[in-house]
């Protein structure tokens, strides 16, 4: 099941459906990298609201996605981690270290806007 990726201005929004397989995650990584390049996106939001389990593999892959996207000059924000999922993750010691997170899509977009403003201000 492939993950739908929407383009919204200079951002890409990937909405993950539940029951995501390993292959789907890796396919998402490839698709995002390709689209970031194609549209010269400045930010990527990965919405995991529908994920009921975020295990170590998913966490590693999300970190890899953020890392690769950053190499392409864009910032990744993970949004929609559910309270129960967050709780399970920290108990298991799974972290999304060095990956930005926000509560939901709205917050994620606000965060990206702010970051881009700062980036522009620096220039």
């Amino acid at each position: 099941m492939s993950v739908p990726i929407l383009k919204q201005a200079q951002y890409l929004i990937a909405t993950i459906q539940s029951a995501l397989s390993d292959e789907d995650l890796l396919a998402l990584q490839t698709a995002l990298v390709e689209k970031v390049g194609k549209y010269r996106s400045r930010g990527v939001i990965v919405d995991v609201t529908a994920l009921d389990v975020l295990d170590s593999f998913a966490s590693r892959t999300l970190r890899d996605i953020a890392h690769i996207i950053r190499l392409r000059g864009a910032e990744t924000v993970i949004v929609g981690v559910q309270p129960e999922v967050a709780f399970a993750m920290v108990q298991l010691g799974i972290t999304l270290e060095k990956v930005s997170t926000a509560l939901d899509l709205e917050e994620g977009l606000a965060y990206l806007d702010k970051r881009l403003q700062h980036a522009r201000a620096e220039h």
Binding site: F57, A88, L92, G93
Partner: protein, 140 residues
């Protein structure tokens, strides 16, 4: 007429040989947990533990089984997850389950994490027989 609770002996077994089986095993685990009255948070813990254990099987042993069954100790209900494989075994069990604050401990098997979220954790492992991890989570 007889009102036997159908969940008293609920048990299922998912053969795990590929990463897709991980999702199957944890989804079924979640369903059973919720049927047994576990809260969403607890069911998530169960599903995540299953996911980690099943992943270990696929990554290190190639194939194995995840068996999940309901248990009761008279006063409370619980879930037992048995993850078994005939893989190469874990050399240093103590190291594998050692829990420190840092997440880099545990030989990358995620076992310290699993141990933190369950109420009972047993592991048996050797070169001949493979590895069997048995964890229990009681409903609060």
């Amino acid at each position: 007429m007889t009102e036997q609770n159908p969940l008293d002996d609920a048990e299922f077994c998912v053969p795990v040989a590929s990463v897709n089986d991980i999702v199957t095993a944890r989804m079924q685990g979640r369903v059973l947990a919720e049927q047994l009255g576990f809260s969403t948070g607890e069911a998530t813990l169960v599903a995540t533990a299953i996911s980690e254990l099943a992943r270990n099987i696929v990554q290190y042993a190639g194939s194995g089984d995840i068996i999940v069954r309901s248990v009761t100790n008279g006063t409370k209900r619980g879930i037992v997850v048995v993850a078994r494989d005939r893989g190469p075994g874990i050399g240093d069990l103590k190291l594998a389950v050692r829990s420190g604050y840092s997440t880099s401990g545990g030989l990358g098997l995620g076992l310290p994490g699993v141990r933190r979220i369950v109420d009972d954790f047993q592991i048996v492992s050797d070169r001949q027989a493979g590895t069997t991890v048995t964890v229990t989570k009681w409903r609060s």
